[in-house]
Symmetry: C2
Subunit: 356 residues, 2 copies
């Protein structure tokens, strides 16, 4: 496929720890419910899942935040549960209750039915969306593809939805670790083919969201989450069409294990807001780039305070290459979009200032 | 008041890092919904709040787990929201929705109405329960009193209940830190008089639960949570009736800030399960005792695995004084009580073995 030439490569350069004119910024869940135009498109689509499975509308909501803010990357609008959905577990969204699976994975018989979905078949709506977005972006900024981590996906598959206490998934972890490893192995294989298909379809960088890695003990994190993310990193297409494809790993609540995460061979590590970015940088040096890590709640404050907090964070990272500015978690749905504009502009202004 | 002599002081000794014959153990939420006898008493009481406010029934549920398991401490059955309730914020529990306040604290006018509750008045049901439990315990094990931390209580008071994103409380933190400090200061003063009243009424050790400290950034944790816990530690009655009253601080998700927490002057720090207890001990030496930190989900596994995990944790702590065995968080309500018996017995058996 031929795509228009990339005009703004700040984000990709920062992930590879190369010099940039200012600090690049994108925002987790930048295409989301805080935007009235997103809510309108979502209504038009029907359900959340209908929106994810409609490439034209997924493309539309992906591009919406870029029309308002000078963001340095677009991220595919999708859900982390596309893989278990393609494994025929019966994903649905109960209003106000979050994702659910009709057929949770609990027994060996359930495990035996799992398979690696062919992304050109049941997940083609994702790769179609990737290609369409990449075309529509017209080289404005790079496109990020993504997946959930094996452990994070496994928790939803085993619990049959979200969980407060991880009763079944951690029950399996402690009672029958071999069975859990079987599940994680199939998911990890699936993530590899899924992300490589996104890269072939046009994703210029990929990110793995380990949303629930932080609920594990340190040894369980290494054995049941990090190990599989490392396998994926090793098997991903890291160069495509002559361009490097940077990989970012993000474990929410995982800053204790920063060194181990940085040692997987990924290009960048995402940080939540519970660690100081200067401490993070002291601990890992320039081994990987760092993405993050403003508390999303700063966006509830007044513009001057948002600007102060942005400056403070950029100062803490210091005059190094390899910082991608982001929140430490997804933007909250009740944030005023104008406040995000203040943040994005402040990042670019101050990022330029600190470099001159 | 005269109370019967204490027969088992393992828990108090371990908190003071003195030698014990085996590792003491108690369990967060040991008086709780996983016990059928608790559910029966709760039904008899009416609502959860009715149970908290009835000293006889609060005493009954406090003692229930001690009849089943050889626990080394009892903990007052109560709720962390007793203080804001005594501030007349209108605490109620909506079934299945958690705690709510009719009058959340949002404006300066709301703040001006806050006051330090007199524990001999609106909180006398708590001190009455403490004295009754202490009498009924008959010296079997020591009694732990407790409170929520100022920051944790403030989140409920400002949000008007539980929160997913801390919209209002963190909004205030970033927009009007002075107003938040006013609130925290009144709560901290209230916690001091409240815990000192519990100590006078018979509590032999106190613990402060900072359930939501872990959602803060490092600098916000120091300024808005830790600072107030330190103030409390400094003003607590640390010796009563010739006996030391050890103080334990527990910030869920706070193991990154272990050194700072240990430096407050407390006797012990509670750990959640996301840190290895050997790493925690390496970081703070024997400056304080450590309480924790088994993943509560281990109790869903088979007895042999529970025993293995207990041994593994005690081995990791090593042959030192100053370990109080506990889970890293409250026991889940769907745990089989027989599994807790396996855990408690394994702690004592292996704790004895490692010392001989």
């Amino acid at each position: 496929m031929q795509f228009p030439e990339l005009k703004n490569d700040r984000y990709l350069k920062a992930l590879l720890r190369q010099e940039t004119d200012t600090t690049p910024v994108w925002i987790m869940r930048q295409a989301g419910r805080y935007l009235p135009e997103y809510r309108a498109t979502r209504k038009q689509a029907g359900s959340f899942l209908d929106l994810c499975k409609n490439p034209e509308l997924a493309c539309e909501v992906t591009l919406q935040p870029l029309r308002r803010f000078e963001l340095d990357a677009a991220i595919l609008f999708s859900d982390i549960l596309t893989i278990p959905d393609a494994m025929n577990l019966g994903l649905y969204f109960a209003e106000g209750e979050g994702p659910k699976f009709k057929k949770p994975v609990r027994t060996q018989a359930d495990i035996n039915k799992l398979f690696v979905p062919d992304p050109t078949e049941s997940l083609s709506y994702v790769t179609d969306a990737v290609t369409l977005i990449r075309q529509e972006l017209d080289g404005q900024v790079p496109l990020i593809g993504f997946s959930g981590s094996p452990w994070t996906l496994a928790t939803y598959m085993i619990e049959g939805g979200s969980s407060k206490d991880y009763h079944h998934s951690k029950g399996l972890l402690y009672s029958d670790p071999k069975a859990l490893h079987q599940i994680l192995d199939i998911i990890a294989q699936s993530v590899v083919v899924y992300l490589n298909a996104q890269i072939e379809a046009g994703a210029q960088s990929v990110m793995i969201f380990d949303t629930w890695g932080g609920v594990l003990s340190p040894s369980a994190y290494e054995e049941f989450s990090l190990r599989y993310m490392q396998q994926i990193v090793e098997q991903l297409t890291r160069e495509y069409d002559g361009k490097k494809i940077p990989v970012t790993l993000f474990t929410k609540g995982g800053s204790q294990w920063l060194e181990q995460t940085a040692a997987t061979g990924c290009d960048a590590v995402g940080l939540d807001w519970t660690i100081s970015i200067d401490e993070a940088r002291n601990r890992i040096g320039d081994k990987v780039a760092l993405q993050g890590n403003l508390d999303p709640n700063v966006l509830y404050a007044d513009p001057e305070i948002i600007q102060q907090q942005v400056k403070h964070l950029i100062d803490k990272f210091g005059p190094h290459n390899g910082h991608v500015f982001n929140l430490g978690h997804g933007i909250h749905q009740t944030v005023n979009p104008d406040h995000l504009k203040v943040l994005v502009d402040a990042v670019h202004d101050y990022g330029r200032k600190i470099r001159s």
